[in-house]
C-alpha cells in the first residue's frame, strides 16, 4: 500500500461517511461528489486513465448535477431535526460487519479467484476502443439502445400533455395567436415606459 493510496482511500471513505451523516442534503450530495472523485483518483493511481477520466466526466460532471438538481427541485427547505442515526444503529453496524466478513471469507476461499497477481494488462484508450468495437460491440449496442429508449421516455414524460386537436388548431391560428402572445408584453413595456416618464 503506497502512501498515495492511503491518502486517497482515507479521503474517499471520509467523504462517503460524510455523505451519509450530514444533515443538509446538498452538503451530502457535495460530499458524495468528493467520494466519487476519490474513486476516480484511485483508478488513475492504477494507471487506468480512461476509466478515471470517464468516472470524473460521468459522475462529477453529470450524475452529481442530476442529484443536486433533484434535491433542489424536490426538497422542502427545512433540514431534519431528528437524529441522523436510527435508534438501532449498533445492531445495524454489527449485521453489516458480519455480512461483510462472510462475503469476504467466501470470496477469498472461492476457487475462481486467481492465486497470483495476473500481469498488468495494457489498458490504453486505443485498446479499450478496439475491444468496444469488436468483442463487446453487442453489449455496447444494447446499452446504447436502452439509453436511447430511456431518453425518449424522459422526453415524453416531460412533454406537456397536449391533445392533437389543440396542436392542429395552433398551427392554423398561429398568426393571430402570435399577435396575442406578443401584444401584452409590448403593452406592458409601453406602460412601464410611460410610468417611468411620469
Amino acid at each position: 500500500m503506497s502512501p498515495v493510496f492511503v491518502i486517497i482511500a482515507f479521503v474517499t471513505l471520509l467523504a462517503a461517511a460524510a455523505a451519509m451523516s450530514l444533515r443538509n442534503l446538498v452538503h451530502c450530495a457535495l460530499s458524495l461528489v468528493v467520494a466519487l472523485a476519490g474513486l476516480a483518483a484511485l483508478y488513475l493511481q492504477l494507471d487506468a486513465q480512461f476509466v478515471g477520466f470517464a468516472q470524473i466526466l460521468v459522475y462529477v460532471g453529470a450524475v452529481a448535477i442530476l442529484i443536486v438538481f433533484a434535491v433542489l427541485l424536490t426538497r422542502s427547505d427545512a433540514t431534519p431535526n431528528q437524529a441522523i442515526l436510527a435508534p438501532g444503529w449498533i445492531v445495524g453496524i454489527l449485521v453489516s460487519a458480519v455480512v461483510f466478513a462472510m462475503l469476504g471469507w467466501a470470496a477469498l476461499n472461492s476457487p475462481g479467484l486467481p492465486r497470483e497477481m495476473p500481469p498488468t494488462p495494457e489498458a490504453t484508450v486505443k485498446n479499450i476502443g478496439d475491444l468496444l468495437m469488436t468483442r463487446y460491440v453487442l453489449p455496447l449496442e444494447v446499452i446504447g439502445l436502452l439509453l436511447t429508449a430511456a431518453l425518449i421516455g424522459a422526453v415524453i414524460i416531460a412533454m406537456k400533455e397536449e391533445t392533437p386537436k389543440s396542436c392542429s388548431s395552433r398551427r392554423e391560428s398561429a398568426p393571430s395567436e402570435k399577435l396575442e402572445r406578443t401584444d401584452p408584453a409590448l403593452r406592458d413595456g409601453y406602460e412601464a415606459e410611460k410610468g417611468d416618464g411620469v
Binding site: N24, V26, H27, L30, V33, Q49, F50, F53, A54, I56, L57, V60, G61, A62, A64, I65, V68, F69, L72, T124, V125, K126, A174, P175, K178, L186, Y190
Partner: protein
C-alpha cells in the same frame, strides 16, 4: 543529460533555437538541481508557467476587451491609467494594476444567510479545474505540461467540475437571483457540452488518438504551401463552427450570457460575491475561455503550426498565442455585436440545431475517413453537411412563422 542538450543545440539553426528557447531554459534550470529533485523541479516549472502566463494574459485581455467594446459602441474605453507614479499612459493598458489592487483590498462580504463553507469553496472549485485543463494544451513544440494518453478526455472531464462550482456558488448564496443564475448556467452548460464534445469527436476519429500532441502532429504537414489544418476540410469547418458556438456558450459569453444577465438577474450566480472572490470568478471565466479556445486551436486550427509553409520559421508558441488572441478577439467582437438570447431560443438552438448538426458531422467525418483521398470525399462530405444544414434550417424556420418585422412604437 546536459551533454545531450548541448549536442542538440550545436546542430540547430537560429530559428530552431528561438523556437525551443523556453524548453532549453527549463532544461538548464532543472540541471542545477540534484538528480533526486529534478522531476519535481521540472514539474513545478511547467506548472508555474501556466498561471503566470495566463493570469497576465487575463489582465491584458480585460483591458483589450473594455477598449474593444468601447470602440464598437462608439465611446472611449479606459485610456487614463498607465504605469503608476509616472506620466506614461500606455493608452490605458495599465488599468489592470489598480483594478487588481482594488479587488485585493476590498472588503469580503459574506451574506448572513449564506452557507459559509460552500460559499467559500465555490470560487476555489471553479479555478482549480480550469487551471488543470491547461495541462494538456500543447502551447508550442515540446511545450505540453503533461502529455496524457487521454488528453482530450481529461480536458472535458475537468471541465465538468465547473458546473458544480456554479451550482455551489448559486445555492450557497441564499439569494433568488444567484439560484436563478446557477440554474440557467447549469442548464446551458449541460446542453452545450454535448455539441462541444461531439464536434471534438470528429477530430479524434480522424486522428485516431486522444493525445493532444498527436492531434497537432497530424495537422503539421503542408500541401502546396498551405497547412493541413482540419478547419480546411468540410467536416472540420462545420466542426470548428459548432465547437466555437458551444465554447461561447460554455464560457457564458454574449449572446449566451443568460447566467449572469445584468439587466435581469444582477450578476447571476456570483451576485453575492465581493472583493477577491468576485475577482476569482472573473478570472475563472476568462481562463475557461482561454482554455476552451486553446483546445479549439489544438483540434481544428493546427495548434502551434504555421498556416503557410514559408512561415514555419516563426516560433511555435508565437503561433499558438497569436491564434489564441485572434479567437479571443472574435469572442469580444461577438459580444459587441449580438444581443442576448432568450432562454427558449437558447435551448431550441442547442437541441434542435447544434445536436443534429454535430451528429451529421460525425457521419461526415466517418465518410471522409473511408472514402479515401480524392475529390469524391470532398463532394460527399460537403453535400452531406450543407444539405443537412439547409434542410434543418428550413425545417426550423417553418415553425418560427417569421413574418416581416413591424414596428409598433418606433414608427
Amino acid at each position: 543529460m546536459m551533454l545531450e542538450i548541448a549536442l542538440e543545440l550545436e546542430g540547430r539553426t537560429m530559428f530552431e533555437t528561438l523556437d525551443q528557447i523556453f524548453v532549453t531554459l527549463k532544461h538548464q534550470a532543472v540541471a542545477f538541481f540534484p538528480d533526486v529533485w529534478q522531476p519535481l523541479v521540472s514539474a513545478l516549472i511547467s506548472i508555474a508557467f501556466i498561471p503566470l502566463v495566463f493570469a497576465t494574459l487575463f489582465a491584458v485581455v480585460t483591458i483589450f476587451e473594455r477598449k474593444g467594446i468601447g470602440r464598437i459602441q462608439n465611446r472611449y474605453g479606459p485610456n487614463r491609467v498607465g504605469i503608476p507614479l509616472t506620466k506614461i499612459r500606455l493608452c490605458g493598458f495599465g488599468q489592470f494594476i489598480p483594478d487588481g489592487l482594488k479587488m485585493l483590498t476590498k472588503e469580503d462580504i459574506v451574506p448572513r444567510a449564506a452557507d459559509k463553507v460552500v460559499h467559500f469553496l465555490a470560487p476555489v472549485v471553479l479555478l482549480v479545474p480550469v487551471l488543470l485543463a491547461y495541462a494538456v494544451l500543447p502551447m508550442g513544440r515540446n511545450m505540453t505540461a503533461v502529455d496524457l494518453d487521454a488528453g482530450v478526455l481529461f480536458f472535458f472531464a475537468v471541465g465538468g467540475a465547473v458546473e458544480l462550482s456554479v451550482f455551489m456558488a448559486g445555492w450557497s448564496s441564499h439569494n433568488k437571483y444567484s439560484l436563478l443564475g446557477a440554474m440557467r448556467a447549469i442548464a446551458q452548460m449541460i446542453s452545450y457540452e454535448i455539441p462541444l464534445i461531439l464536434s471534438a469527436v470528429t477530430v479524434i476519429m480522424i486522428v485516431g488518438s486522444l493525445k493532444t500532441v498527436d492531434i497537432v502532429a497530424a495537422q503539421n504537414h503542408y500541401l502546396f504551401g498551405l497547412a493541413h489544418w482540419f478547419v480546411f476540410t468540410p467536416w472540420g469547418l462545420a466542426g470548428f463552427i459548432l465547437f466555437f458556438i458551444s465554447s461561447l456558450a460554455e464560457s457564458n459569453r454574449t449572446p449566451f450570457d443568460l447566467p449572469e444577465a445584468e439587466s435581469e438577474i444582477i450578476a447571476g450566480y456570483f451576485t453575492e460575491y465581493s472583493g477577491f472572490k468576485f475577482a476569482l470568478f472573473f478570472l475563472g471565466e476568462y481562463l475557461g475561455m482561454f482554455a476552451v479556445s486553446g483546445l479549439g486551436i489544438t483540434l481544428f486550427l493546427g495548434g502551434w503550426t504555421a498556416p503557410f509553409s514559408f512561415l514555419t520559421w516563426v516560433p511555435s508558441y508565437v503561433w499558438f498565442f497569436a491564434k489564441l488572441l485572434a479567437l479571443v478577439f472574435t469572442f469580444i467582437w461577438i459580444r459587441g455585436t449580438l444581443p442576448r438570447l432568450r432562454m427558449d431560443q437558447l435551448m431550441n438552438f442547442a437541441w434542435k440545431f447544434m445536436l443534429p448538426m454535430s451528429l451529421v458531422n460525425i457521419i461526415a467525418a466517418g465518410a471522409w475517413h473511408f472514402l479515401g483521398a480524392g475529390w469524391l470525399r470532398w463532394a460527399f462530405c460537403s453535400a452531406l453537411i450543407f444539405g443537412s444544414y439547409a434542410i434543418l434550417g428550413w425545417g426550423l424556420m417553418q415553425n418560427q412563422k417569421l413574418g416581416k418585422r413591424t414596428y409598433r412604437f418606433a414608427d
